[in-house]
């Protein structure tokens, strides 16, 4: 697991290296998860929405139906990489990023009515796709509070890094 703030040197460079290390051949997809009404919980959605402006066919959010999107990607020919982006309790400073590769995604996730990321990752794996979860530590989950400063900064950085990677691979 790569954690942005724990990387020596430039954190953005560290994140870039971490994502490039995870990404396999083929195009890169981004799937943003979360709930924008609950402040930083919506960080993944905001990253995906930012990238969607440049990569409408490769960046999706909760609003597009995540499970259906994963199913569609899994049925496309050739290799690809899918990065799920989600707010996650990492017990770190707000805005910290952690990259969790496929083999470390917990398959007993506590989720009721959304398909578990582990299941979506497993389906992608079976069709020869690579996946990982990019976790962002939220600062606040207060209803309608808006995104906090540290998390906003992370959203910008992460969007920039993913944009760079997608330009290269897509």
């Amino acid at each position: 697991m790569h954690k942005l703030r724990h990387t020596p040197g430039d954190p953005e460079e560290g994140l870039r290296a971490a994502l490039e290390g995870v990404a396999g051949p083929g195009p890169v997809y981004v799937l943003g998860l979360g709930y924008v009404d609950k402040a930083d919980d919506g960080a993944g959605v905001l990253v995906a929405e930012t990238l969607k402006k440049t990569f409408p066919r490769f960046s999706y959010s909760e609003h597009d139906g995540v499970e259906g999107t994963v199913l569609d990607i899994s049925e496309r020919d050739g290799p690809a990489t899918v990065f799920f982006v989600d707010a996650t309790e990492l017990h770190e400073a707000p805005g910290t990023v952690a990259v969790v590769p496929r083999d470390m995604i917990n398959d007993r996730e506590i989720t009721t009515h959304r398909v578990a990321v582990a299941l979506m990752a497993a389906i992608l794996e079976r069709s020869g796709k690579t996946s990982a979860v990019i976790c962002i530590q939220p600062g606040t989950l207060e209803f309608r509070a808006g995104t906090s400063g540290q998390v906003s900064s992370t959203i910008e950085t992460l969007s920039r890094v993913l944009h760079h990677l997608m330009l290269k691979q897509n």
């Binding site: 499970e67 009721t112 578990a116 582990a118 079976r126 209803f143």
Partner: protein, 430 residues
């Protein structure tokens, strides 16, 4: 003393738990502890305009979002003296079919089924049931598509409005849904086949018939809304009298309210709908209910999963006609309020049971709001069956893991709208 602790339940998705306190193998008590902080939505909307209220209250839940929207609109239209245009009404019916398909497919196939097939999760099931897991995702995707087509978005769509619809779905989109629904009939029948092949465990079965409540859909149809509530004892009541029959109360260990009918627990959900309205089904759904229904449905909440599976067939079979009826009508203008002070109760069937929204308006603003969710109505009933399950399994000498799975299976069968229902129990021994 021993405790079986269950983590995370809530009024909606969120955090709560179950604590089973054991004295040796004797179950001393079972409490359903809701830790999720109250969302206070009813207070939040006080002073709001009705149109703002119906956009705010669905935020209670991103799963039953359209049920909340529909219940709120129905309550508000009654309070404002509005009769919605027929086309709006038919489009709302269509969107509820989409929500049923989306939610029931997820719950039955990916959340409940692993319990019965002996897998810890759908991920573990994937190797042996690849096609079925993908089938569930395809069904969910189709349900989402119907919700998006009708309401404007997959989650928190804003097309359904008081007095009508913001934008009605176009002919091509409806033709596509209709065509796809024919293709997907084998998929929903496969869901029934899977659940019908399961020998339902009896550890949660009571020895007397339970009480089930659901709406009484109009025109003697099977559907997801109504102005009267049916009780399985043959009685019914006007939904405006919901408080007399649901008797909400507060308990110390929970932020979620509880309901009792005549001081007894009752169950809402697909099982209740099938018991109360199943005779109104047509097509293959009717045949499947006839084939698989037996008296155990009245005593064992685990049959709720099979009921949801049959309901999937009903929803899929209903789509072509629902699309045709919407397509056959021109887009009407919105109906306007005939009064600004009044009250009304909207009752709909969310996938997991009856949902009530009650509003009292004063001079065009919300003065009182009251929302009773299906999971809150089911909580006391879940406790009864959890206690029975723990007692029986422990008496039979079942091990910790088996008891834990039994308790989780019972809680999940209610399809509670709570995070963590897929991963509920932690067993602690003193």
């Amino acid at each position: 003393m021993t405790e079986l602790n269950v983590h995370s339940l809530a009024r909606v998705e969120g955090h709560g738990g179950i604590t089973v306190t054991l004295d040796g193998k004797k179950v001393k008590s079972v409490t359903l502890d809701i830790h999720e902080g109250p969302r206070l939505i009813e207070q939040l909307v006080r002073g709001m305009k009705p149109e703002d209220d119906v956009n705010t209250v669905p935020r209670i839940c991103a799963i039953c979002t359209l049920s909340h929207k529909f219940a709120a609109i129905r309550g508000m239209e009654k309070a404002l003296g509005i009769t919605p245009p027929e086309k709006a009404h038919l489009t709302r019916e269509l969107m509820m079919l989409g929500e049923s398909i989306e939610s029931n497919s997820l719950h039955t196939m990916l959340l409940a089924l692993p319990d019965f097939l002996g897998y810890p999760s759908a991920v573990a099931m994937l190797n042996d049931y690849t096609d079925d897991v993908k089938r569930a995702l395809r069904l969910k995707k189709f349900g989402n598509h119907i919700m998006e087509t009708t309401s404007g978005r997959i989650v928190h769509g804003e097309n359904p409005i008081i007095g009508g619809f913001g934008k009605y779905p176009g002919k091509k989109a409806l033709e596509d849904i209709k065509a796809k629904s024919h293709e997907m009939i084998p998929d929903v029948k496969r869901v029934v086949e899977l659940f019908a092949g399961i020998e339902m465990p009896k550890y949660a079965e009571v020895d007397k018939d339970k009480v089930f409540m659901s709406v009484d859909a109009p025109k003697k149809k099977y559907h997801m809304y109504g102005d009267r509530t049916l009780i399985s004892n043959g009685k019914d009541f006007d939904v405006e009298d919901y408080k007399k029959y649901t008797n909400e109360r507060v308990v110390a260990h929970s932020f979620a309210k509880r309901s009792l009918y005549n001081e007894k627990t009752f169950m809402v959900g697909a099982n209740a709908r099938m018991i109360n309205m199943g005779k109104r089904l047509g097509g293959e759904a009717a045949d499947l209910l006839k084939e698989h229904y037996d008296k155990a449905w009245l005593r064992n909440p685990l049959y709720n999963d099979l009921a949801q599976a049959i309901e999937l067939v009903w929803a899929m079979e209903s789509l072509p006609e629902a699309c045709d009826r919407v397509m056959a009508m021109d887009d009407p203008p919105h109906e306007q309020p005939t009064r600004l002070t009044g009250s009304g109760t909207g009752a709909v069937e969310a996938p997991r049971g009856t949902l009530y929204h009650h509003y009292e308006l004063k001079d065009g603003l919300v003065d009182v709001a009251d929302i009773i969710t299906p999971t809150a109505q089911n909580l006391d009933d879940i406790e009864i069956h959890l206690k029975l399950t723990a007692e029986r399994m422990l008496a039979e000498g079942k091990g910790t893991d088996e008891v834990r799975l039994g308790l989780e299976t019972v809680a999940r069968a209610y399809d509670p709208c709570i995070s963590c229902a897929t991963h509920l129990v932690t067993l602690k021994r003193a």
